[in-house]
Amino acid sequence: MSDILLSAKNLTVRFGGVLAVNNVSFDVRQGEVFTLIGPNGAGKTTVFNLISRIYTPTEGEITYLGPQGMIPLSSQPPHKIASLGIARTFQNIELFEHATVLQNLLIGRHTHHRSSLFSEVFFSGKVRQAEIDAREKVEHVIELLDLQHHRDSMVAGLPYGVRKVVELARALCTEPKLLLLDEPSSGLNVEETDDMAFWIHDIKNELGITVLMVEHDMSLVSKVSDRVLAMNQGEVLATGTPREVQTDAAVIEAYLGSVDDVSSLRRDAAKTEVRA
């Protein structure tokens, strides 16, 4: 298939004796929202960290559609990942706290800057023009995500929900082809989660960015995802549309336990009810 953007083959990661990810393979197609789900400790974030090269896989390989065809990501140093068009957010928000929202977003433009140190020291006309251009690009993202009010506020003083959006905005400022969202709705209230779903939709349909995300909120997952991959204890349980995965026996077992467990629970519950 030619429309594959990122492909993971037989990924395995060991931390000492812990097998965090075991023989995981998946393909992310261009223009889709692909979601990783699974209970805590399933290895979802580890997969993310493999893609952004914070970890290196013990075995297996990730290939990515670069400008010159598919390339193995392991051949790239970590700081080159962003310029390949892969941007990410973090589960626990990693913003630059003591900088304004605008500065945070401008750091997102880092891979696009071309000025030399020398011209920056003199702040030549070219550097000034580049700064203005960068601000214009950033302004589009600010507008898309409704961050106008917070443009010049320090991140350290912003509420959690806004920080989450700023982090998404910063990732968008890199103009990515593939956006990795690590639990975009964690810590958000119902309305903020709805906004997030709306934005993910826009990012996919209007900006044409492929989204790979990790998410626990199943209503958000089924609302926005095209395909879902369920993991447990480092292994793939099922892949398919949200509906297929939700009805998959192995997935239900991972979340709720086996049918026997459930029926025994029911019996216990029935007994207690009778007693009461």
Partner: protein
Amino acid sequence: MRFIFKTDYGQDINLAKHGGHVFWYSALCLLLVAAPWVFSEYLLAQLTFILIYSVVGLGLMVLAGFTGLFSIGHAAFLGVGAYTQAVFTGMGVPFPIALALAGALSAAVGVVVGLPALRVKGIYLGIATLSFGFIVEEVFARWESVTGGNAGKTVGQVNIFGWVADTGASFYFVCLVVTVVCTLAVLNLLRSPTGRAFVAIRDSEISAQSMGIHLAYYKTLSFAISAALAGIGGALYAHQIRFLSPDQFNIIQSIDLLLMVVIGGLGFIHGAFMGAIFLIGLPQAISSVKEFLPSAIGQAPGLKAVIYGAVLIGFVLYEPMGLYGRWLKIRTWFQLFPFYRKGMFKRQKSFQKSDRLK
């Protein structure tokens, strides 16, 4: 209270954000230019020292305040600059060229010291730079053919292609020009992508890296810039003191420099200047009140060290943003009068951080 209505991006980028900045900084420039006619010879020499230390402070501020890397051996870079200047001007090299060489050599040494910074962090980086400081001090003492060893080395006057700065006032102007140029260079750098990359590394390495910032390159660059500024400051220092010996660049000097930026206010360019004023001004202030104190206290040998220590503890406890932070608070109090509230500058509790880069 001033509200700025922004209508174009230039207003974001310009150094002077509004008319008030233009007015006050012009006034400051006028005062500094008029200083030789306003102040006495002695005060002018102190002002020269403040300018010299400001340049060094700018360097340390780039490193510690903006990139988040601490150096407890910064006096070594000061020394490298000073001795380079002494050697080259001794050979008859004109001042501007010698100054550039002093900055360049310090930067080169800074790159070498910056390399361990890629591997070690926090307190371990402190230890690494501290040991580096000791090594360099020892080199100054032992390499007698170049540095003159413990006997010291005298430094000539500033000679700019035939024009000799032989008075206090003329040397003051040399320092003023160098300081203004260095300050503008640092300000320009900080509003460019490079400066933002420094801030990104300071606040979160992991996300800086995922935004495409090459950590090793920018950390080394920060060390190089910081060392270059310290070297330029050192070169001016050499001309001001006129006599160099290794013990001027010892651990106490390094700690003074660190103290300067912490008390001035980490992360603010103004902090470097306020710290320099503090560092040069405090000994003067102590000696002027000494006479009025009972002799048991006033003549006590460790008085200066005790006061320095107490002031530092006070700042760390009550004003971590330093003198500049205090100034910001006072200014806000007046701007908002009577609506200033105590918690306005209180830092919000940081949210939990995700996994750090090892």
